[in-house]
Every structure is written in C-alpha cells, then in structure tokens.
C-alpha cells in the first residue's frame, strides 16, 4: 500500500478543525445548565445566561409531589420563550379551598426572557424575565438577574425577584421609589387563566436571590444557590417543608446534548432533572448522507457549436429522461423541446430542497441532451401545480460545477419566473404506478380531559393515494387503535356548539376510523394564482367541501389567500355518517416572509363554532426545514364562554426527516402543543393548503435551499 508521511497529520487535523469557525468554548457558555423550571440557570433560580441561538431544551424536573416538563426555545440570540406543563399533588391556588385527597393540580405556563446585555469586559450578562406571565399564575414571578464568570470554572449569579421570587426574605419594592403603584401586588384574578397578568408585573415585595456554579470539568458542574421562593402556598398546604433557603446541586453531562441534574432543595427534598438539547443549527449528519450526484458532462468545443439536432429522436430522449429522472425520485410529466431549448415539468418526490432536485436534474440533462440544446427551463410542480419556471444555461452548468462561488453565481444567473401561461408541453406518461399506499405505526398524545390531561393512543394507520393526474388526487387514511384509553373523558361544556370538545369520543369510538378520505383538485387559474378544491371526509371530525384560492407572486415575500368551507360534523364512529351540525367556515389569510428567518401569518374569518375572529402566527423558519412558532386565536367568544385557557393558543414544531436521518426526504415530523381542545377559535384541518405547498418552489425558499443545488 502507498506510503504516506504522517509527520504533520495531527497538527494539520487540529488546524483544520478550527476552520469550522467554532469559537472556543467561552467561559460564559461553559456548563450552561437548566433549572428545575427548564430555564437556563442554577437549581430553582434563573441565571442571566442565554442558550446558543436556536437551541431547544426539553427538561423534566421532579421532586416529591412536583413534576415540571418544560420546553425552552432560544428564539433569537437574546430572546427565549418557555412552555411548561406542571403538576403538583394535592395543590390548589392561593385563596382556593384546600384540595381533597388524591387531587392533582395541573397547569400550563409560559415564560419570556430577554438578555439585555451579554457578558463582556467588567460587565456581567444581564437578563430580565417574566415567569408564568400567562395562565393561572401559579409560578408567576418577574426577575432581573446578572451573571459573571470569574474564571474558566467559577460563575456567580445575583438577581432581584418579584412575585413568587420575592416571597423569601422579601423587602419593600425598590421600584416604590418611582411610584406607589409598585408597593403592593394585587391578588391574582385567575379567572379562566390565559390572560396576561400585566397588573402584577414587578409589583409587591422584592427579594434577592443568587448562587455560584463551579465547573469541575466539562461534564460536571456543582452549584449552590440562595432561593427567594418561599414556597408559601405549598408550605401552607403541607406539601413541602422549607427548612432553609439554600439549595445544593450538580449537573452532569454524560454526552453533548444531555444533562442530568441532582439537587437537595430547601433542606428537605431531593430533586432530579433531565434535559435533552436539540439545535436546528447543528445537524447530526452534516451535509446529509445522500449518494453523490452524477458528474456534469461537458460538451466538447466542436459539438457545442451545433445549432440543431435530429428532432426525430425526441421519443427516445423522452423515454431516457423519464427513466433517468425517476432514479432521482423525480416524476417527469411534460416536456417541450426545440433545436436549442428544453422545458420540463416534473414533481420532485425525494429532496426537501427543490434546488437540490434542480441541480440533480441539470446534471442528468448534461449527460442526456443533444449538444445543440443550450437553454434549460425547469418547472417544478407539487400536487400538479407548476410553482415556478427556472431557466439555466447549459454552459453555466458546465462551467460552474466545481467552481468556488459557483453556487451563488448559478443562482444569480438563473431566471426565476412564474410558470403560469406557458405554452403546452408534450405530456409524459408517469413511470410510477398511480396507486401508492403505506402502513405505519402511530403514537398520539391527547389533551382532552381537564382532570386527566394526558391520554395516549397507539396503533397503526393505513394510507392510500391514487393519482388520476398530477393535479387530481384521491387519498385516504384509516386508523386502527391497538392500545389507549377507553375513557372519552370530559371537557366542561360551553355555550358553543361542541365542534372540538368531543375529541375524546372520536378517539375512543372511531376505531377503526377513517381520518380522511378526499378527492382534491389543484389548478393554476392564472398568473400568480393557485387553487384547490377538496371534497370528502376532510378531517376526523368534519366532512364537506373546501375551496381555496391563493395569490402569491414567485418573487414576493407575501401572499394572500381565501378559503371557504361548507362542512358537516362527522359521527363519532368516524365512518361515513354525519351529525346534524353544519356550518360555513373560512378565512382570508395574509402570509409574510420577513427574510430574517421569521414567517408571519394572519387568518381572519369564521371558525367552526360560527365564531368570528383572527389567528396570528409567528414561526422561526430555518433554511434547513426546521420550523418553531406559536399562534394565538382571538374570536368573539367571551373568555368566560371559552372555558379554561380563555382563548386558543399554542406552540408548534416541525422537524424535517432529512435533518434527523441524513437521508433525503420531503417528509417532516410536526407537532402542536396547545391548550385544552375547546370549541372557540377552532379551525378546520384540511390537507394540501396552498401556501405551504407552493412556497417550496418560489424564489425565497429556492434561494434558502440553493446551497444544495450542486449536491
């Protein structure tokens, strides 16, 4: 075997590692750990540290009788938000009667934190936070906190807390110097929860808290803190014995992304916590594991000058292309060729980024096309709708394949326009069978019972799809539950029609159940316009007709859509029958891509229960397909009628398969964490909504994924 010289290998490797630009672990990042509340901090008290941008930390914290599950997302480098689901045995809110034996109190809470300044020079990091500022306020506190690393191993934190964090060793609010408004904190008006308790913020007694963290090594951190939370209500109910405000703990990181915490709380309790950290900015498989693309074939100079070719060969060309594209998971459905040009319409079924499919198609074309063809127009479709028209020159493809900066130049030279109104193409019969089906296991978690908040259901689903033509698609999904609850639970009734609150009955009685069974027709009625009509059993609880029209120019950051649905409520058995309730529901929607990683959407219209209102949603959308966001729906249903939570709100998360697996895939895992499923502000669920379908092929998303063009 070849002899290699190794003398500088190690040095070279070490040097090469630095290329990633990974900053050395800064003192303040070292050993960032999470509290029992799932926020960056000490043990029960927060610190001023911010997690790396985009980081998602899921923390479970336990001590006797208390359970807290928290999902914390670093929304921007300075802003983070937390959603918490907690339960406390035999707890009731202050002012309420003592609980009966065996009662378990469940609550959801939201936090926001903002890092006012990062650590630097003599300055500590400083953050301000609102804990449990929405909801029933069990954990409601405000704080301002500073954290400073004294050296690589030692970090100190000191803060001032209000509300719950001002209950131990509290003193008169220093803000009282500004106004007597701050002197007293009014009693919480819990109502149905869900309202922002601005009348509480930074009012009443304040107290100091603080602590130290000592990093023994990269894996182990020891902590001690002075807590300003007296656990007053818990002590009153005899749920905890607070003997000391001092807490001691350790955090162990067995491997990056995992933390285990153990602590001794308030002189009487042992607490345990575990955190799993994910960061969309760090792929488990950098780049991806897809097989390499075929190399570009470059025409020799003499054949490049050809002006025409034997068009009689068109049939063979079409067959060869169809087969070669199918190898890349691309279904060719039409093409038009001339002496010097080719235009193709196709559906990419494999690659998340349409740009990657385009690059692969471009490479194949350089190998298959007669030399005279110089201009290549690619028209990607999804659900039969051509989303854009991207024109490339073959000479650019030949020239830029291995050129540094070739990806950006390719994008700059591509002409991206609307595909509507283009002349007809020669249809190409699909290679794949029009029928596809699958069977897969599922596990679902439901929140449909105010007293027993979490139910699960597991079994399998059978899905089937028949494609009559690329834009006329029949599809269905049948669910068979194998294990799960047989108690449909109960959600307190309201004055509204029961459009969603019987979800438990659908889950229990609809077994087997048809989740959906629809026929959908998609079209391009004109320039910048997209349309959809779907009929059938649209979703588990409603069937009927859904029609949608979207206006979305290819290069625009915005789109406007209208959707109208006439629906009838389905029977609980989730078969073909219907109940009496029927309604017209629909929305006008505005979509906006802020081009800084954030996407906004506002839907205004009539909801399933006949209530009128609007939903505002904001998502952080990562170029690699991750989406994390939240939404709020406010309708004309009074908070008292809505019931617990006052209005519908939730956070949602979508993770692309290719991130998790490394292999190319267009699928994603999506989930929404929401308040109790209630009837106000409930929206119809229907597959194939246009904006999300179409935007993959539009300028912004093509640009975001363009780094994959040459992959």
């Amino acid at each position: 075997m070849a002899q290699y010289r190794d003398r500088s290998l190690v040095a070279g490797l070490l040097a090469a590692m630095a290329i990633a630009g990974a900053a050395p672990v800064a003192a303040q990042d070292r050993g960032l750990s999470y509290t029992l509340y799932g926020t960056p901090g000490l043990i029960d008290m927060p610190s001023a540290l911010a997690a790396p941008d985009g980081e998602i930390a899921t923390t479970l914290g336990f001590f006797r009788g208390h359970r807290r599950g928290t999902f914390t997302f670093q929304v921007t480098p300075r802003l983070s938000g937390s959603f918490r689901y907690a339960s406390v045995d035999e707890y009731t809110l202050p002012g309420e009667p003592a609980p009966r034996d065996g009662f378990v109190y469940f609550d959801r809470s939201f936090d926001l934190r903002y890092q006012i300044r990062d650590e630097g020079g003599i300055w500590p990091a400083i953050s301000v936070g609102l804990q449990d500022f929405l909801g029933t306020g069990q954990y409601s506190s405000e704080y301002i906190v500073a954290t400073k690393a004294l050296n690589d191993s030692l970090r100190v934190t000191a803060g001032l807390g209000w509300g719950r964090m001002g209950s131990q060793g509290g003193f008169d609010n220093p803000l009282g110097a500004l106004s007597s408004y701050f002197d007293t904190r009014p009693a919480l008006n819990f109502g149905e929860g869900g309202r922002i308790s601005t009348d509480q913020f930074f009012r009443g007694d304040a107290a100091f808290f603080g602590g130290v963290e000592y990093a023994v090594n990269e894996r182990l951190t020891l902590k001690a803190e002075y807590s300003s939370d007296a656990y007053s209500r818990e002590s009153e109910l005899g749920l905890i014995d607070v003997r000391s405000p001092l807490n001691y703990g350790l955090t162990w990181r067995p491997r990056p992304g995992y933390q285990i915490g153990l602590s001794y709380l308030y002189g009487s309790e042992i607490a345990l916590s575990g955190t799993v950290i994910l960061n969309p900015n760090q792929r488990p498989f950098p780049g991806g594991l897809e097989p390499p693309p075929p190399p570009v074939a470059v025409r020799a100079a003499d054949v490049r000058a050809a002006q025409s070719w034997d068009m009689g060969q068109q049939g063979q060309l079409q067959a060869r292309l169809s087969a070669a594209l199918a190898e890349e998971g691309v279904t060719l459905s039409g093409l038009a060729v001339t002496d010097r040009t080719i235009r193709l319409r196709y559906t990419n079924t494999r690659y998340r980024a349409e740009a990657q499919a385009m690059g692969r198609i471009a490479r194949i074309l350089t190998r298959e096309l007669p030399p005279a063809i110089e201009t290549i127009t690619l028209e990607p479709m999804q659900r039969g709708m051509a989303m854009s028209s991207v024109t490339l020159t073959r000479s650019d493809i030949e020239r830029l394949e291995n050129q540094a900066g070739g990806s950006a130049e390719m994008l700059a030279r591509a002409q991206i326009t609307d595909a509507a109104g283009a002349p007809a193409l020669t249809p190409v019969a699909p290679v794949a069978s029009p029928l596809s089906w699958g069977i897969a296991p599922y596990l679902a978690l439901y929140v449909f019972d105010g007293d027993k908040p979490l139910n699960y259901d597991a079994g399998f689903v059978v899905t089937g799809q028949y494609t009559f033509s690329p834009n006329l698609i029949a599809s269905g999904r049948l669910r068979q539950s194998l294990v799960g609850t047989d108690d449909p639970g109960s959600v307190a009734p309201s004055n509204l029609p029961p459009v969603r609150r019987n979800i438990g009955r659908y889950v229990v009685e609809g077994n087997p159940g048809i989740e959906n069974l629809t026929l959908a027709y998609y079209a391009r009625p004109g320039r910048d316009l997209y349309s959809r009509v779907t009929v059938g059993l649209l979703e588990p609880m409603f069937g009927g007709v859904s029609a949608e029209l979207l206006w979305k120019p290819v290069g625009a950051n915005y789109g406007i859509g209208v959707e109208v649905n006439q629906v009838v409520q389905r029977d609980f058995d989730m078969l073909l029958g219907f109940q009496d309730y029927q309604t017209t529901t629909g929305h006008a929607s505005v979509y906006y891509d802020f081009r800084n990683g954030f996407h906004g959407q506002v839907d205004v219209g009539r909801y399933l229960a006949g209530d009128w209102g609007a939903t505002v949603a904001l998502d952080r959308a990562f170029a690699n397909g991750w989406r994390i966001g939240g939404y709020v729906t406010l309708t004309d249903v009074p908070f008292e009628d809505f019931g617990e939570g006052s209005f519908d709100k939730g956070i949602r998360l979508s993770i692309p398969f290719d991130y998790v697996l490394g292999q190319p895939s267009r699928r994603e895992i999506s989930n929404t964490l929401t308040s109790l499923t209630r009837d106000g502000g409930a929206r119809l669920v229907v597959d194939g909504r246009l904006y999300e379908t179409v935007r993959d092929g539009h300028l912004n998303d093509l640009s975001d994924g363009w780094g994959r063009f040459w992959r």
């Binding site: 490797l13 630009g21 780049g287 390499p292 291995n402 900066g405 697996l661 490394g662 994924g705 780094g707």
Partner: protein, 221 residues
Amino acid sequence: MSAMVKGVVAAAMLATLAGCGDQFQGGLLLPLASRAVPSLTGGGNGVQPTLQPGFTPQEMAADLESYMIIGVPTLGPPIPVRRIMDNGTAETWLAQVGFTAAFVDGMLVATRGLGSDLMAANTGAVRRALAAGGGTAQRAMDVMDDQDRITTLQFECEIVATGTETIDLGLRQVATRTFEENCASAKAIFTNLYWLDSAGEIVQSRQLVSPTVAYLRSNRL
C-alpha cells in the same frame, strides 16, 4: 500484471466492505442509533453502498489508468476509485462505497457523498505554483453549513519544495519531488502535501476536504 496489485486491490476492497458496507441498510433506525453509538457504523460518515460493477481486480488490471487509490480517515483504510467522468478539465472518481471526488490536474476540487463535503474549490494558482517549483498563491474553497448556506473560504497559501522521495505506488516505484502547501486564513490553517513525478504530474497527495472529513489522500496506480 503483478499479483501484488491484485492483492492490494482485493484487500482494499475487502477492507472497504468490512468497514463501511451495508452501513445504512438498517433503514431508518440505524442512522439514529449510530448517532448515539458512533461505533455502530464504524464511525463512518455516511456513504450509501451502491455496489457498482467496475471494481473487480480483472477490470482494474485491464485499465489501470482509470483507477486510483483514495483514503479518507472517516472511511477507514484506503480504497480503489474508478474514473467515471473526464470533462477535459475535471476528472470525477467514484468509490464503490458511493462517494465521488473531483480533481483538476491532480488538485482536489470537490467531493460528494462524504457528508461534510468540499463543495467546490479554485486551485489553479496553487497548481501553477507547484509547477513553478514553489511560490505563493490564493485558493478558495466552498463549504456548506447546517443551514444549507455556502461560504467561500479564501486562503493565502505558501507552496514550498521539501525535497525528493522515491515512493511506492503499489505497482511501481516513482522518484518524486515533494511539496507542502501551507494555507492560512483568519480562522484556520492547514497543510496539503503533494508528490510530483518527473513529468510534473501529481502522483500522490494529501488534500483537505473539510474540517469534519479532514484530509483525503490519493495516489495513482
């Protein structure tokens, strides 16, 4: 055709199969499991086995010019690769385990299928400096980050002749002149190594792919 080459090639192929074959045929679970336990897949960095014809010792012996040996640390021992495209400028070589490497006049300009690939590189000035016996040159390398963004890294490089060495390419002993290419940017440094034969061809090299994949070693047969 010497029996030794057949032996080298066959051993390399066996090592390849043992080290990386069937890597992800476990479907969806294995890649996930391998994240937790890197040793499950031999620490391999993601190549799919696409068993291609064209790698039997007989085929290799019949057309040695179309093969060379490439080694990447994440894939284990060096393995044979076959030229699948010659564009006149760039030559692309395919490994049986399913990655490709493209060279322009012996200089590595791109890889695919290694995960954290070299997306593209401009190496013309470095190649001219090698031909001239040394000098300084700039090189540019495209890398892709975890958000699908391509960054072009610019390096200032110094090409230094380091002496002569007779090397064993497996089939033949070749007298070579040796060179180091020391490159630096504000954030990183690395060193590529080259062995040039009497005709000025790069017959053996060690060139940087990316920080994760590190160096790719190549030698002609």
